[in-house]
């Protein structure tokens, strides 16, 4: 039982000019990749981070590498000082509390098992430090080992374990402590694809047994969508959107979220017109006018949106089309995925992807080089302001 509240958290990594040359060299490439704000004080890795995490909630922080996910998690853990803002766990301010007194557990990407200790001792370490009676330690370690299916490994050293086994031990080590908050930093990134899928389901199962608050960091949107009760999408140190997997998928707050969540990626059509017409709104897409629904128009009118240039996003599953001589896009590849076909097309150098059910469509029409005429359902359109990149229809009820 633990609520975690982050209030306007900010993290600045001070410039380290003279020392840590080695470290800096290693850190430079990711710094260049992302567009973090750099001030006189240093690199602003996270800012304006506010989030109320409910008791027993599973929160996933997701975003591209270097966006500040780990930094945020490490501030919750107490491994990184909080530059500004407040952190509360169960109503208690934790900014200046040592990690060991926060009653949290953390699983690291590289497992961080103590190499010189057996699996048993690794799992027992935190309990030993807390001077737990021996028989209680033994009971807890064996119970956790049983749940994680690592009982036969208890006497081994970490060196003698496979990646997946190490991961289980790392989770087990956190598990025995029965922490208030369970932190995980990309726990599955070092595993191969098959193991990752397997461990993902295990984490879901594990969760029903632990029943505590989770904060889980990943760069993988599939992990985020499948694990999270709520997802926090981050970019360049800022939160982009907080919501349930359903919400962020159906109503992405901006172009970044729309592009980040969902595979294959949403298609974007830039430079479209949005105009007021007979009391409603209409969007012009690929030369055709589409009248928006009453609900959509109502929302736009409420926000007082004038005629403007917009970017329209359409998910691949919502794309419709048929082969036509004067079509909009040229087919490049048709990937047969089984129950569906991924149709890769291009138009003016931009890639467009459509997902077509293989049962319904006539596959022979998808030859490379053929032209497709595209049609759209206005209800499936995501309309973003071209300048701010914000979603102009953040929450249309269907």
């Amino acid at each position: 039982m633990a609520e975690v509240v982050l209030k306007n958290i900010k993290k600045v990594y001070p410039h380290t000019a003279e020392k840590d040359k080695k470290k800096k060299k290693a850190k430079q490439p990711p710094e260049k990749k992302s567009n973090l704000q750099i001030t006189e004080d240093g690199v602003v890795a996270v800012q304006q981070f506010s989030l109320d995490i409910n008791d027993k909630e599973f929160i996933v922080l997701v975003g591209p590498s270097g966006c500040g996910k780990s930094t945020t998690l490490r501030m919750v853990a107490g491994l990184e000082e909080i530059t500004e803002g407040d952190l509360y766990i169960d109503g208690e301010r934790m900014n200046d509390v040592a990690p060991k007194d926060r009653d949290i557990a953390m699983v690291f990407q590289n497992y961080a098992l103590y190499p010189h200790m057996s699996v048993y001792d690794n799992m027992a370490y935190s309990l030993k430090v807390k001077k737990t009676p021996k028989d209680e330690i033994d009971r807890k370690v064996r119970e956790a080992a049983e749940i994680l299916d690592i009982t036969p490994l208890l006497d081994r050293k970490p060196k003698a374990l496979s990646g997946g086994q190490k991961q289980r031990v790392a989770i087990g080590r956190a598990f025995v402590r029965n922490p208030k908050v369970f932190l995980m930093d990309e726990p599955l990134s070092n595993l191969d694809a098959k193991l990752r899928n397997q461990m993902r389901t295990e984490i879901i199962k594990l969760r029903s047994k632990i029943d505590t608050t989770f904060i889980y960091v990943t760069h993988d949107q599939t992990e985020a969508m499948t694990l999270g009760d709520r997802i926090v999408i981050m970019k360049d140190g800022f939160i982009q959107q907080i919501g349930t997997p359903q919400e962020v998928f159906m109503h992405p707050a901006n172009i970044f979220v729309a592009g980040f969540i969902g595979v294959p990626q949403m298609n974007f059509f830039h430079g479209c017109r949005l105009s007021k017409k007979d009391g409603g709104y209409a969007a012009t897409l690929l030369g055709k006018d589409y009248a928006l629904s009453a609900a959509q128009s109502h929302l736009l009118a409420e926000k007082n949106v004038a005629d403007c240039t917009v970017t329209i996003g359409v998910r691949p599953v919502d794309m419709k089309g048929h082969a036509a001589e004067d079509g909009d896009a040229v087919i490049e590849v048709a990937e047969m995925m089984g129950s569906e076909v991924h149709l890769h097309m291009t138009r003016d150098g931009e890639d467009i992807i459509a997902i077509v059910s293989s049962r319904e469509a006539d596959l022979s029409q998808f030859e490379a080089g053929r032209k497709m005429a595209l049609q759209f359902d206005p209800a499936a359109m995501h309309i973003f302001d071209s300048k701010t990149e914000e979603n102009l229809l953040p929450c249309v009820e269907e």
Binding site: N110, A112, Y114, P115, Y125, V129
Partner: protein
């Protein structure tokens, strides 16, 4: 085809073997000579030093060392000085090295540079000032004069720092979250991680203090406080040297060093390799 390669390979090996054999003989010869002379009378050593096998073998030298001098007292002194120095240096080097490697504090780089700088200054330069200080605090003619000034070993600190820097950050953070305090992390996590460095350092330190001749000579005056290496001068007077006893004492001193070396041979070689590397 195979045979030809085998042949030239054999010749190469033979050549290497011969070179190593000659070098080994050159290195081992003085020790053999010492052992052989320790079983001769002083007379025979002086008149006929080249015989490896003593003409009239005798253990008189050993008897003299063991009965006519406070040999066991010296042995105890040597063990005491070497033991305490080794343990303390292992402790100070590892903890200071860990602090320099893993804690950020003001003036860290400056302090470390100062430490390194002291390593550049030859010991002879500070010998007189050190003596004055030791005498001033009343440690002259005490084995503690050989112990207290050695508590901090810059080379050891440097070695441990290098090793501590290689410890993955997450290991220490993990222990922090597991509830361990700084000292506990040092003791439970850092020490096992830098074991190879500590093994090498232990052997170097042991040999350094076990074989130290100069410092005991400077600081110790009474016979009872002497350490083993000084025994070598004990049997020499201005006019004559009891070579038989001196050689016997040398041989006896070597035994503990040889035992330590044999036990820790693997670590020792590792240690040599790693100090060459870093």
């Amino acid at each position: 085809m195979k045979e030809i390669i085998g042949g030239s390979d054999f010749k190469k090996r033979l050549l290497i073997f011969c070179i190593l054999l000659i070098v080994s003989i050159i290195i081992v010869l003085p020790y053999v000579w010492m052992l052989s002379n320790s079983f001769k009378t002083t007379m025979e050593t002086l008149t006929d030093p080249m015989h490896i096998i003593p003409q009239e073998p005798t253990t008189a030298g050993y008897e003299k060392v063991l009965t006519k001098s406070p040999f066991f007292r010296w042995l105890w002194n040597s063990c005491f000085v070497t033991g305490i120095n080794t343990i303390v240096i292992l402790f100070t080097s590892s903890i200071v090295g860990y602090i320099f490697a893993r804690f950020n504090f003001k003036g860290r780089n400056f302090l470390f540079a100062m430490l390194l700088f002291t390593m550049m200054v030859p010991a002879q330069v500070t010998m007189i000032t050190t003596f004055i200080i030791i005498d001033g605090v009343g440690l002259y003619n005490s084995v503690w004069a050989l112990i207290i000034p050695s508590f901090v070993n810059v080379f050891g600190i440097y070695l441990c720092k290098q090793y501590c820097e290689e410890i993955p950050k997450e290991l220490i953070e993990s222990a922090k979250i597991d509830g361990a305090g700084n000292f506990r992390i040092y003791w439970n996590i850092v020490i096992p991680q830098i074991r190879p460095a500590l093994g090498a350092l232990a052997i170097f330190t042991f040999l350094e203090y076990w074989n130290d001749y100069l410092n005991p000579l400077i600081y110790l005056s009474s016979t009872d406080n002497m350490t083993l290496p000084l025994a070598l001068s004990y049997f020499s007077t201005q006019h004559s040297t009891d070579l038989s006893a001196t050689m016997a004492a040398s041989a006896l001193i070597m035994i503990p060093a040889a035992i330590v070396f044999i036990i820790f041979q693997k670590q020792f070689i590792k240690g040599l390799a790693l100090t060459g590397m870093k």
